[in-house]
């Protein structure tokens, strides 16, 4: 089905281009165009829209979504899916709040502990997917139940966080010159994106991820460590969810079992709108960043409008998902039609 070279080689066959662009870049270009169009629309409709702080707030208010979506990108690149991230995030906020506020543990120790816990949670899911060849969808669905259920076991009420260190982190604003400032969570999100981009495009791990997404069988035949990489991909997604949980604990200053309900859907939507193919093998971390920003801009536009109700956000996200999925299919069909004659020629 996927005729394009999966690894990041230098081969760009003419037959795989659309309007002079590499096939793999077409979805990303569409995403960017949409993003720019939305900014222009916002700027024309509302005077205050172009203020730099509006854009920084996109990152500040969506820092946890950005981190989760980055982890999700890797999972989807391998052709899998991770539905447990939202619940795992909520579980992290609960564990952090309970251990710091009720058991009075050292905050730094707790943070290290939950990051390790999230990674282990993801690794177990990856192991089940790889070792017993279970469907990622159903494994992470069960993981979602486990994490959300454990939240309720800790407490069904919200636990407020009053620890001085976390309070300090929550109210810290790092000035960026002018009158704009950024939060600690946003910085963590930006660092995560940078590290993930490096992982995806400059490491052996990243190349293996793309190869598995193209064809797990071929990747295994090439001698790539498919199993280990799959486990690590889910572990990374779990790590990202735990990190996002820390960011959310600081952002909300509370741990609550109903935090981040449905976040996994937003993350998947952001990844898809960011141009990553759900069949795996094609996509960019940068695209996911733009996808998250688009979701953020939709919310900002709804808020700026003032008369639209919040449910329009969900409807618009659904419509965008639809448009992007259909156009992905069209691109795929076009590419398979274009590459069929060329492969005959090469015989």
């Amino acid at each position: 089905m996927n005729a394009a070279p999966v690894a990041h080689g230098n081969v760009t066959r003419r037959s795989l281009t659309i309007l002079g662009l590499d096939r793999r870049l077409v979805p990303l270009a569409g995403t960017l165009a949409l993003f720019v169009a939305m900014i222009i629309f916002g700027a024309m409709s509302y005077k205050a829209f172009l203020a730099p702080q509006v854009f920084l707030n996109l990152v500040i208010d969506n820092a946890f979504l950005l981190i989760v979506a980055v982890g999700m990108t890797f999972v989807i690149l391998t052709g899998g899916i991770d539905l447990s991230v939202g619940s795992l995030l909520a579980l992290t906020t609960m564990v952090v709040a309970a251990l710091i506020e009720k058991a009075h543990w050292n905050p730094w120790l707790v943070m290290l502990l939950v990051l390790a816990g999230g990674t282990a949670f993801g690794a177990v899911q990856g192991f089940l997917v790889h070792r017993y060849r279970l469907q990622p969808f159903i494994v992470t669905l069960a993981g979602m139940f486990v994490a959300r259920g454990l939240c309720y076991l800790i407490d069904t009420e919200s636990i407020p966080v009053s620890n001085p260190l976390l309070q300090q982190l929550a109210y810290a604003r790092i000035p960026l010159g002018g009158r704009v400032a950024i939060s600690s969570g946003a910085i963590i999100a930006i660092v995560t994106v940078a590290v993930a981009t490096w992982l995806a495009h400059a490491t052996r791990f990243g190349r293996t991820v793309y190869a598995i997404g193209g064809s797990a069988k071929s990747a295994a035949l090439m001698g790539l460590p498919v199993g280990g990489t799959l486990v690590r991909v889910y572990a990374f997604s779990g790590f990202c969810a735990a990190l996002a949980g820390l960011v959310m604990t600081v952002y909300m200053l509370s741990g609550y079992s109903l935090h981040a309900v449905g976040l996994e859907l937003d993350a998947i939507a952001a990844v898809v709108i960011g141009g990553t193919l759900l069949t795996g093998g094609v996509g960019y971390v940068a695209g996911t960043v733009v996808g998250v920003l688009i979701l953020g801009i939709i919310q900002t536009l709804v808020i700026f409008n003032g008369t639209l109700s919040s449910w329009w956000t969900r409807i618009v996200v659904g419509i965008l998902l639809f448009v992007f999925c259909v156009s992905q299919k069209l691109i795929e069909k076009r590419a398979s039609r274009a590459s069929a004659p060329s492969s005959e020629k090469s015989k």
Partner: protein, 334 residues
């Protein structure tokens, strides 16, 4: 005895009996049935009544999964159908119109899913994800973001009424599922669905009209979710766009899996699915009677999913079959 245990329904049936037995031991009045106010009364009747919407949705899901599909939008469709019914019945009071409207919209939702899967060729999870994300927004749009309450006696009957001493919802679900079962066994439809699930390409070459059938299965799944939406909203006398049918898609998938339907398609059992739905509802009742916070139910469900899917995995079974004969030290080389 051995052949009895090899029957595909044996394990779900044993699970259900064990769960019921556990309840009976802990709560002596659990199995008691009484005749009160002209209808049967007791925990068992209650479980039957509450399992009805889940059984209906799961029946639709069974067929979709059997043909290698998946429908994760059913919870959202339940919310939409409930919203439509409440909006129509509020001002008009016309029950027939409200039911037709709700079922019609639900059917349209199912056709939309089917068209995306069959027509556009999307992966089922993604195609139905779109409606799952947008659906609750649409439901809120219909209700205007409010929880609509419905106090209308005939409508109330769907979810709370009794016919011949039994809950109407359970009878309705039973009738629909029996009809479906007859349809699948009398016509070759059941065979076609299995063929599509086992190998879509081969079934098409063999002359099975896979695409229209698959489309109909999604449409039917939508219709069942619509019916469940009617029952659920009638039962609680309100339409809540945010919470009606919340996580129902997951319960339905769990019920289907528990009943022995393979998630990879090609093998299904409607009776098993009904047992699965009853198991889930009994589990919920058990948790309540144990005095554990009901939310912890999620952990039990997750444990069940893990157990069932590991038992279904050939690789997992192979590990255990090999264990006794594996020579010491072989672990390192494998």
């Amino acid at each position: 005895m051995k052949s009895l245990f090899r029957h595909s329904l044996a394990w779900p049936a044993v699970t259900l009996i064990l769960l019921l037995g556990l309840n009976a031991v802990m709560n002596p009045g659990f199995l008691a049935l009484a005749w009160r106010d002209g209808h049967l009364y007791g925990s068992l009747v209650d479980i039957l009544n509450r399992a009805a919407p889940l059984a209906l949705v799961s029946a639709g899901m069974t067929l979709v999964i059997a043909a290698r599909g998946l429908d994760i939008s059913v919870g959202a469709v339940v919310a939409i159908s409930a919203a439509v019914a409440a909006v129509i019945i509020g001002p008009t009071g016309n029950l027939g119109f409200a039911i037709a409207g709700a079922l019609g919209v639900a059917l349209l939702c199912g056709i939309w899913n089917g068209a995306l899967v069959v027509g556009v060729g999307m992966q089922p999870i993604i195609a139905t994800l779109i409606l799952m994300v947008a659906g609750r927004g649409v439901a809120q749009l219909i209700t205007g973001g409010q929880i609509l309450t419905v106090y209308y006696a005939p409508y109330d009957f769907i979810g709370n009424g009794y016919l011949l001493g039994l809950p109407f919802a359970a009878l309705l679900a039973g009738a629909v599922i029996v009809l479906l079962h007859v349809l699948l066994s009398v016509t070759p439809l059941g065979l076609f669905i299995r063929a599509i699930g086992i190998n879509p390409v081969a079934s098409r070459i063999a002359g099975v009209r896979a695409q229209p059938i698959t489309l109909c299965l999604y449409a039917f799944g939508g219709l069942m979710a619509g019916l469940a939406g009617l029952i659920i909203s009638s039962n609680v006398k309100s339409a809540d766009a945010n919470n009606a049918g919340q996580l129902l898609e997951l319960d339905a998938i769990l019920a289907v899996t528990l009943g022995g339907t393979a998630l990879t398609g090609g093998k299904f059992s409607l009776a098993g699915t009904v047992l699965g739905a009853l198991i889930i509802q009994t589990l919920t009742s058990t948790i309540y009677s144990l005095g554990v916070p009901p939310e912890v139910n999620l952990v039990f469900k997750a444990a069940l999913i893990f157990l069932v899917m590991l038992l279904q995995s050939p690789d997992f079974r192979a590990t255990f079959k090999r264990l006794p004969v594996r020579p010491p030290g072989a672990e390192k080389t494998s």
